[in-house]
């Protein structure tokens, strides 16, 4: 059969096929899913939220921005006190580190590494000695 004839024949035959019906379960599934979706508006787009949710979310965001702005421009006294105390503590800690700890830190680190290596060597020697004794 000529390919063009076959194309025409099949096109006619296929288009005459009865349309398959959707299973009866499809409609209940879709409706149940829409109910679930409606029950959780946060999962859908903001524009599909109920009006009260939209207004509430806008108010919450505005409040958040205003609060952040207020803290940045003119922080309340307790916050400035805490920040000042934290700054002073950090300065003291930095001075202590630079004066007392930093000069000896290298030696302490070297001593620690040496002790660890010595312990490891001693343990290895101990195991060799025990192993040799048990094999006798």
């Amino acid at each position: 059969m000529d390919p063009a004839d076959l194309e025409r024949l099949l096109d006619r035959e296929l288009k005459q096929l009865p349309r398959p019906h959707a299973p009866r379960t499809l409609l209940p599934r879709v409706l149940a899913a829409t109910i679930d979706r409606a029950d959780s508006p946060a999962l859908t787009g903001w524009f599909t939220w109920p009006r009260t949710w939209q207004i509430g979310s806008v108010a919450a965001v505005a409040l958040l921005i205003a609060t952040a702005w207020m803290f940045m421009v003119a922080p309340p006294r307790p916050v400035t006190n805490i920040a000042r105390t934290a700054g002073e503590t950090a300065t003291i800690m930095r001075a202590l580190w630079q004066v007392l700890l930093q000069p000896v830190a290298t030696y302490v680190l070297a001593l620690g590494v040496t002790l660890a290596l010595a312990c490891a060597a001693a343990w290895a020697a101990f195991e060799v000695a025990l192993g040799g004794a048990s094999q006798r």
């Binding site: 019906h21 499809l26 409609l27």
Partner: protein
């Protein structure tokens, strides 16, 4: 009429069209039902726009086709042949069978031939069935199919040709 009732009427009106497109592209009823549900959920999200739009059917067909192609590429090796071999003899769904029975009342032989053709179509491997369905049912051209499937024009033509050959055998068996 409430929004819920309007949406239910909308689903009732278009469910056969959406399901038919999906089942012919995917070849399996369970997967087609899943895709059809996803399509209607997309429609639900935009129901204010498309609920009363005259282009709703076209929109649904486009979304269904795209979701089916995504499904094929994501969950199956799209052009894999061997995954199709286990589907021989898979029964058609109740809805399809009922429609077949109705046709058979008028003309049993014609209905049987159509049923065979529908089965044969669904049994084709993905890489033959999908371009064939897009060509004959969705009226897409060869180039548009090649673009949609991201394959060469020559492959589209060769796959469609092989698919037609397979279906021709079914038709010739039926006419004996």
């Amino acid at each position: 009429m409430t929004d819920a009732a309007r949406f239910e009427a909308f689903v009732r009106e278009f469910q056969d069209m959406v399901f038919a497109t999906a089942v012919r592209l995917l070849g399996r009823e369970a997967e087609a039902e899943d895709v059809a549900q996803t399509v209607f959920m997309r429609a639900f999200e935009r129901f204010a726009e498309i609920g009363s739009s005259p282009s709703a059917a076209g929109w649904l067909k486009t979304v269904t086709t795209n979701l089916c192609l995504n499904h094929l590429s994501r969950y199956r090796a799209r052009w894999q042949f061997f995954s199709e071999l286990d589907r021989d003899g898979e029964p058609l769904g109740l809805g399809t069978r009922l429609s077949m029975v109705a046709s058979a009342a008028e003309n049993l032989e014609l209905a049987e031939r159509r049923q065979r053709l529908e089965r044969a179509l669904r049994r084709l491997p993905d890489h033959q069935r999908v371009p064939l369905v897009l060509f004959h049912f969705e009226d897409m051209g060869y180039q548009a199919i090649a673009d949609a499937l991201d394959i060469s024009l020559a492959k589209v033509k060769s796959d469609i040709h092989r698919g037609r050959d397979a279906l021709k055998q079914e038709l010739s068996i039926g006419s004996r």
